[in-house]
């Protein structure tokens, strides 16, 4: 921050000095605010920039890289100099950086600081509400200038759903810069024979009567995508601050508050609109460009259109002695207005050799000195804070080269009218073709994108008459194309013609060396000059895309709104060409203007960031202190630490409980699919590597499914519920994928099979009860069930009624090797049944266990977990599961087992890995190497022979165990290999993957 650059004196503290006439402020409402710690006062309707200029401050601190004094350049979204950080204004608000002072409306007590182009992210928590909104419309109109308003009126009256979005706080577009009254010598800007402001107000008021027109001010359309999908940012900060600041129910107050009372209200700060439109009318207007001469960046050098906006809309004279540098007729509108306001204009300097009709008329009326065929070649900055104090004017030759040192004129402001750049960004984002028009020195859309229209200044048509006519016709046609017809009414305005422009790309003298033009600025925000462009071209760059990236021109927050065409002009000039179209424009990409991440995130933060899927039993887990693991979007209890326990202690305790007494686990998250059809058994036989046709009703079977390349894909137990009915279970994470898999194979390969599928994952809650005492627990909760081993065999299931009348399906399935049951009840009853199990098991000290112990206990038994031990490159044979692969039937993946690589005997095999020291736990994912393999960098690449897939402290063996895939592993049992742990190599013995109860004696209790 460069406080020293601020002008001294007491002007800041004196009240705003305003002209008698202003169209956009409410003089009855004074608003106090501060910038850089200095108090100011403005009026409702003011931006920070307009109120500051009224207070006499036009400078905005030093530039980012060169530290040059800069001032407010524009009056809108194209601002590249005056960037502020605004402090949080209401509870929950944080400071926001990089806001153009030209866009921020002042609110009572606002505190801002000028930034030298570098924002600072506030580390505070932004608690304000950012939301999204999705809307479909028949006609989207971007821009509420005369063309957009006419389009909206004509489209909306047909009944078409019409959405009009505009980045400004009030409708009117370029007309907001107009005096809104008759000015001697100026253009006639009345519409349908009433002053433009009256027409605008009547038009917008008319929207309220049409049910399907929505107009949103303060809403910047920043992205245009295929199929007319648009994204816009609605900024409601001012409404929110004013409502919060004055109590609920307070109106935003000023004339340009929301017209549509059905949506916006206090609470939401910003809203990202997602819009899908059948037809689109782009009425995005044009931005004015600076002129590239020496020292063209001083405070007090301002776009002519901005000077006019401050004058007419805000009643602020940006200077008291204003010279105008013109390249086209638009500057004469400013001249007429300045004259009417009594501002001294020592000269208007026009690059064109002869006076246009408009120039002659206005100069005659105002009696202003007109300097033709000349331009400003340099400036002096001896005013306060480096403000412009003098311009040097020189004549131009035929090639627009300045001849020598001309005349000096004292000024306190220079208005530059370098020509207009139509806002073709949204058109360009869709790769809409553009063409260079030399007569107006502008890139314009060549043809609109499909299902879009371009109207008004975006086409380089700057006459009000044309804007209204094209806008109305496009609105009518757009509605018509989306099926809504209405009679066309074209608003009338006086005809206007503008003489050709004479753009100036580089203001130089004959002896100038481009590499020395270090103060001919092109991109103010990036501090890049003509010298930088020349430097890029000296390095061999020719493409505008390369030069953009080499110099960083157009990459700032303003995204080149004022610099892109000037850069192209400079490149063209340096190449000795005249056609900017031959150099071309850089690619347009979203966003058109910066968008806060907070707005894009919307409500997806904190507990709403991502949906957590929870089971019916979840509240119990929370109440009992469970730590959770995220699996397939679910919150699954991981382990239940008791006070003072760490994870390892909790897991060992839970594991011992299952091995020695009884434990219970919430297994509700497993995928479940109901399968019915006379061919269901046949179909399952194709899906699984093993057969299911002969499975008896009332029995379950573990099944393994593979992809066509023979690799393990998913697994689970499938029950045969009836002759034609099965219930498949899948892994938690694989539930949706497996259902799609079944549908895909059925629909594409075997549609003739009679079989259908329905996901019932969430219909059921599942409580797994495991351990030697599980039979006792089940007997208590299911009094009608004979749970004896003789009458309830392993892999059998029974349907019964639990105490209390809850219907249940109980299976004898074990994933731990222990005697175990799974109790399935309708989801509603999950919590009640879980609590019943807890109560019934209390006498056996039943212990809830989480996914970690489930993983440990199955690892002790050598059971794989698909997705942990397998990774899509593991066949059933690799995993030691050849027993489950049918030799007799076909199934998905079978063919692949005869491939040479799949069939070879020395693939990586699932093995057990035991650290020889009996205490060191291996790292999951760690590589395994042959003992003695050098591992120093000097020895080069280290040949790996496998890796650890699972590693735990085993509660049953009281030592660490691991599972691994090792090359030819099954044939290397007993071999000592090595694995890195914490920086050193430990010896590891290859063993059978089954560590516990290999005979399976514990299964039946």
């Amino acid at each position: 921050m460069t406080h020293s650059a601020r002008p001294s004196g007491s002007t800041h503290l004196s009240g705003p000095t305003r002209l008698d006439h202003a169209t956009g402020i409410d003089r009855s409402r004074h608003i106090s605010f501060s910038v850089d710690g200095q108090q100011h006062t403005g009026f409702a309707g003011d931006t920070i920039a307009s109120a500051l200029i009224a207070s006499g401050r036009i400078d905005c601190g030093a530039s980012t890289y060169l530290g040059r004094s800069r001032g407010i350049l524009s009056a809108g979204i194209e601002e590249s100099n005056a960037l502020v950080r605004v402090k949080g204004r209401i509870p929950g608000d944080v400071s926001e950086s990089m806001l153009p002072a030209t866009r921020v409306p002042i609110t009572e007590g606002l505190e801002a600081d000028y930034l030298s182009g570098l924002g600072i992210l506030d580390p505070g928590q932004d608690e304000l509400v950012y939301e999204h909104k999705h809307i479909h419309v028949d006609v989207l109109i971007v821009g509420a200038g005369p063309a957009g308003l006419a389009a909206a009126r004509e489209a909306g009256k047909s009944g078409a759903r019409t959405l009009l979005l505009d980045d400004r706080s009030a409708p009117g577009g370029s007309l907001l810069s107009s005096p809104g009254r008759s000015v001697e010598g100026a253009l006639d800007e009345s519409i349908d024979e009433v002053p433009a402001p009256e027409w605008i107000e009547a038009t917008v008021n008319g929207f309220a009567e049409a049910e399907e027109i929505t107009y949103r001010p303060n809403t910047t359309v920043f992205g245009s995508y295929d199929s007319n999908f648009f994204v816009a940012l609605e900024d409601r900060t001012r409404e929110l601050v004013e409502t919060e600041g004055t109590g609920s129910g307070a109106s935003a107050g000023s004339a340009d508050s929301d017209r549509d009372d059905t949506a916006s209200r206090a609470g939401t700060r910003q809203r990202v609109w997602h819009i899908r439109a059948k037809q689109v009318v782009l009425a995005t207007g044009a931005h004015e460009r600076p002129i590239v001469f020496a020292d063209n960046d001083r405070p007090g050098i301002m776009l002519a259109s901005a000077v006019r906006t401050y004058l007419n809309r805000f009643g602020v004279a940006a200077g008291q002695r204003i010279a105008i540098a013109a390249t086209n007729d638009s500057a004469y509108e400013l001249l007429a207005d300045l004259h009417a306001a009594g501002i001294d204009v020592p000269a208007i300097i026009d690059s064109r050799a002869t006076a246009s009709a408009m120039a002659e008329r206005v100069v005659d009326t105002t009696g202003t000195r007109l300097i033709l065929g000349s331009t400003v070649t340099g400036t002096a900055g001896e005013g306060p804070a480096g403000r412009i104090s003098r311009v040097t004017v020189a004549a131009l030759d035929e090639d627009a080269v300045a001849a020598g040192h001309g005349e000096d004129i004292d000024v306190d402001l220079l208005a530059v009218a370098g020509g207009f750049s139509p806002v073709i960004h949204l058109h360009g984002q869709r790769r809409g073709p553009i063409v260079w028009r030399a007569d107006i020195a502008a890139f314009v859309p060549k043809t609109p994108v499909r299902d879009q229209f371009t109207v008004g200044a975006i086409n380089g048509d700057y006459s009000l008459e044309a804007a209204l006519k094209d806008g109305a016709e496009a609105g009518n046609a757009a509605a018509n194309r989306s099926g809504f017809a209405a009679a066309l009414t074209v608003p009338k305005a006086a005809a206007m013609t503008f003489a050709p422009a004479r753009p100036l790309w580089l203001v130089t003298s004959a002896e100038d060396d481009h590499t020395a033009l270090t103060t001919h600025f092109i991109d103010f925000q990036r501090d890049q000059s003509v010298a930088d462009v020349q430097r890029a071209m000296n390095a061999g760059m020719r493409s505008v895309e390369h030069i953009k990236r080499y110099t960083s021109i157009s990459t700032g927050g303003d995204q080149g709104k004022t610099s892109a065409v000037n850069a192209i002009g400079a490149i063209t000039s340096i190449l000795g060409e005249t056609d900017l179209g031959s150099v071309g424009h850089t690619t347009f990409r979203a966003p058109f203007a910066p968008v806060p991440f907070a707005a894009l995130a919307g409500r997806r933060k904190g507990e709403l960031f991502d949906p957590a899927r929870i089971t019916a039993i979840h509240p119990w887990h929370v109440a009992h202190g469970a730590e959770f693991e995220d699996v397939g979007g679910w919150k699954r209890p991981w382990y239940y630490p008791r006070p003072g326990e760490d994870m390892e202690a909790a897991v060992l305790r839970e594991g011992k409980a299952v091995r020695e007494s009884v434990g219970f686990q919430d297994a509700s998250t497993l995928g479940k699919i109901e399968i019915r059809g006379t061919d269901a058994g046949e179909f399952l036989g194709q899906i699984y590597t093993n057969g299911f046709k002969k499975l008896g009703v009332g029995k379950g079977r573990y099944g393994l499914m593979c992809t066509p390349d023979g690799m393990i894909f998913d697994d689970g137990v499938t029950l045969r519920v009836a002759e034609d009915r099965y219930l498949m279970t899948t892994t938690t994470g694989g539930a949706a994928t497996v259902l799609e898999w079944l549908e895909e194979w059925h629909q594409t390969e075997w549609p003739h099979l009679d079989v259908v599928f329905t996901s019932v994952t969430e219909q059921w809650s599942t409580v797994a009860v495991a351990g030697p005492r599980s039979r006792d627990v089940i007997a208590k909760i299911a009094p009608n069930l004979d749970v004896s081993n003789e009458n309830f065999e392993f892999m059998g299931f029974r349907e019964t009624t639990l105490a209390g009348g809850i219907p249940a399906r109980i299976c004898r399935i074990s994933f731990s090797g222990e005697l175990a049951f799974e109790v399935n009840v309708e989801n509603y009853y999950g919590l009640a049944v879980w609590e019943a199990v807890a109560e019934a098991g209390a006498e056996f000290d039943i212990t809830p266990y989480g996914t970690e112990v489930m993983h440990v206990l199955r690892a002790e038994k050598g059971f794989i977990i698909v997705g942990q031990d397998t990774d899509g490159t593991v066949t059933p044979q690799d995993a030691g599961m050849e027993w489950i692969v049918s030799k007799f039937k076909d199934f998905i993946g079978k063919r692949s087992y005869s491939r040479i690589d799949t069939a070879r005997e020395d693939r990586k095999h699932l093995v057990g890995v035991l650290p020889v020291d009996g205490t060191t736990r291996l790292a999951e994912g760690a590589q395994l190497i042959t003992s003695g393999t050098p591992v120093t960098p000097e020895a080069g690449p280290v040949p790996m022979i496998g890796h650890v897939t699972s590693s735990y402290m085993s509660p049953s063996l009281d030592r660490p165990i691991g599972l691994a895939f090792v090359e030819n592993g099954r044939n290397r049992t007993g071999e000592i290999i090595q694995s890195p742990v914490a920086g050193s190599l430990v010896d590891v013995e290859i063993t059978s993957p089954v560590f516990y109860d290999p005979e399976g004696n514990r299964r039946d209790g």
Binding site: H134, H136, R604, P611, P619, V756, Q763, L785, T801, G804
Partner: protein, 245 residues
Amino acid sequence: MADTTHTTEHRQRQLRTVESSAEALDALRVSPGAHLAEEMATATKAGADAVGLRERVFAVQLGLRCTPRTASAEALESALGITLPTQIGEVTGDEAGLYALWLSPDEFLVVDVSRRQRPGETLVAEASLEGLPGQAVDLSANRTILELTGSKAREVLEKSVRTDLHPRAFGVSTAISTQLGTVPVILHHSAALEYRVYPRASFADFTVRWLLDGMAEFLIDGGAADLAGSTSAIGTASAEAESRH
């Protein structure tokens, strides 16, 4: 001997014993949104910006798989007393009672909000499919039904549903599978100012919180004080049905 019921006959016998304790069962079951019933009631507000949310608990939901105009479809339609929809978005039946939602060309969700699910809901439909392809599965606990009401209901949904919800495109008696934010749901325009959202049970907690969050802006002016209609949030289904129109 354990009741190893693998036939319809056996299940029907089991059902009779269960039905006698229907009240006892209700005391044991918890709906997926029950823990948020109070928050939903508090967020229900009348007036110009009316908005409300409640859970229709334990309604009957049956998943059907059958191809329309086949013997299976006719058997199911006759067994359930409903005509199945034939095109995307279509809802048939009476949204105050028994109705059917189109989910795919051969997949439907039959809902009855006028009564609570009881064990054995699918027995009749299953029996009608004897010897025919297709499927009838009890899915009553698979999803819950959240009912979003009021003049602001559509705006609440438009915050996170990408589909066109304008009445011209998504009129009453239309239902689609879509996403509410990131949650897959069935969305059903069930009456002029009423939408039913069917998330799977595991997503109910998040979906309620998400909807309550979206409703918050309409509750700023002391909406919490207005509890009109909120007492029925966990009331009986029949009372809810009466208050709908």
